[in-house]
């Protein structure tokens, strides 16, 4: 399945399509969450308020975005501004008003992570789920095995295989990973 481009999503949101707004939120929720909690390290209550504020501004101002393909940097900018405002309101220092371009938790890294995420969405649902459960939700082999009805002894090999496929998706010229069954 080919996901809609950002500019397509923006156009559909502007046309009032509810499903497009849901898809936009799904696509950018992790990104905004990572900016507010990892780059700016806001405490949970502030982080939730800022998260909602960012999406409220996106919703209100989507018509002002000139280039739909610039959605990601625009959202990043809104998230940075809202985070800095929250830090100032709370009287805390602004630790990273301008996050380092290549810092461990910096925006550049999150942008790279978003590209990996987009490639993950293009894999089979089985691969997407097993990688998401293991790396993003930090679930154990045992939990994954129980949830997906798979022997826990096969989880590691499936994760390795799916990571290989993810790498293939990101590096199209590379010799493909093994095409064993199971995801």
């Amino acid at each position: 399945m080919i996901a809609a481009s950002d500019s397509e999503l923006v156009a559909r949101c502007r046309a009032g399509e509810a499903a497009a707004w849901d898809a936009l939120v799904d696509r950018y929720a992790r990104y905004v969450h990572a900016i507010v909690t990892r780059v700016y390290r806001l405490p949970p209550d502030d982080a939730e308020d800022v998260f909602q504020e960012v999406f409220a501004r996106v919703f209100e101002r989507l018509d002002t975005l000139r280039d739909g393909d610039a959605l990601r940097p625009w959202i990043a900018q809104l998230a940075r501004r809202c985070s800095v405002d929250a830090l100032r309101r709370s009287g805390r220092e602004v630790p990273v008003a301008e996050p380092p371009e290549d810092g461990d938790e910096g925006l550049a890294r999150l942008d790279e992570a978003m590209s990996v995420r987009a490639a993950l969405d293009g894999l089979s649902p089985e691969c997407g789920e097993i990688l998401d459960r293991f790396f993003c939700r930090d679930e154990s082999y045992r939990t994954i095995g129980a949830e997906l009805d798979l022997p826990s002894g096969t989880i590691a090999s499936r994760i390795a295989r799916c990571l290989g496929r993810l790498r293939d998706a990101l590096e199209p010229g590379r010799k493909p990973a093994a095409t064993a069954s199971g995801g």
Binding site: R30, F51, R137, A160, L166
Partner: protein, 85 residues
Amino acid sequence: MDDTVTPEERLAELLRALPAPPSGWVEAAKQLPAARRELATLWERIEHDELLRAKAIADLEALLRAEGVEPTPTVVAHLRTRLEE
């Protein structure tokens, strides 16, 4: 990139960089369009009803709760700005 890190390990790191936010946050963000429509309706009533406007000025959060609208900071700030215009 650290030469000792394999491409797969690097991918794993990048996957870990974007954990899912709490599902309630995501659902609330998805409800924004509907919430804004509710707010627009409420605002229209406030504009045409002096008593309601007075209640909003006196205690906006209480009015929102009474109308079944969650008084989140974003919603309160949005309405307060309009009340002050």
